[in-house]
Symmetry: C3
Subunit: 132 residues, 3 copies
């Protein structure tokens, strides 16, 4: 079954740690060993797994992406969010993590982040947990 | 079972919307709820999910990738497509989407694109649909 | 069941071809048709699939990533590896490949690489093989 996580973002670019919400979906699924798939049904937001302990890491990720793909670089797409689409393709709109013992099998420093590239908005993340 | 989609590209860099071809593979699979996995068995082409409504979005994605990874930047690989390999790693050679009610569960604006980085060529996309 | 591959890296940035180790996990799993999932439980290392025949390709990938995300660019994260975190999000910490006839169904030129962005270190790659 497909579950949905809702995330309210507060700025144009923001990485929101959704690990505990994903963990909760895994718990509710009752799956002990398997895979948790995450999918962002948007075209100006992505998802990544990176360090969650030091908030400066996500700041550096966002600053670097902003430098590489600046908001205002003479794009063809005229809605003012061309850069957000490009960032989404660089970061990617989906990911997965393993499930072990009924919990996400993340690395010690890993957290799961929704990457907002055109906020503030209300975003959704679709989640499916496979047993196996 | 593994299915194959064939895509003929017409220029060096091009994003080809393959959503309807993928949708057709999902339909033929008979899977109602599950996951559709997509895999590009090439090293100079990738796959992404992004906006399909306004063609200027894919133009901006390609222009930005060309600016970040120019074709001619003194690469070690001497086949003239070193940049195409780099772009493939940035965009990625595989992706997935959920299946609901026998159809791809994409977001409103999402389309699936084969990303040609060293065309024109005939490319293949491998597809598998899991029920679950 | 979750298997683990161990990779010892020898420099700060290095792409290590782990295809044969992954192939071995697939063989041991006994799965004939299915999917092999790969997951890096680190925040300064990624995984990609690209050309393994000519070593200059991985050199170009690393040189380009170093140019786009230089080690020393005034980052907020003060552990000296902010760039490694950014590269991990650009390349991604997980991937998958299909299994056919008991072997990885890679393209002719494709190899699977652990991407070290903050070595030298001992890295792990988690592997799961699904039948289907």
């Amino acid at each position: 079954m497909l579950k949905e996580i809702t995330v309210k973002t507060r700025s144009r670019m923001e990485m929101v740690d959704i690990t505990s919400q994903v963990q909760e979906v895994v718990r509710e699924s009752g799956v002990k060993e398997g895979i948790c798939y995450l999918y962002v049904p948007h075209t100006t937001a992505g998802i990544t797994i990176n360090e969650g302990a030091d908030p400066s890491v996500v700041r550096d990720i966002n600053n670097t992406l902003r430098k590489l793909v600046p908001p205002d670089a003479g794009y063809a797409h005229l809605e003012g969010n061309a850069d957000s689409h490009v960032k989404t393709t660089i970061v990617g709109p989906n990911t997965f993590a393993f499930v072990e013992g009924g919990r996400l099998r993340l690395g010690t420093w890993q957290s799961i982040f929704l990457c907002e590239f055109d906020g503030p908005r209300t975003r959704r993340v679709l989640v499916k947990v496979f047993s196996g």
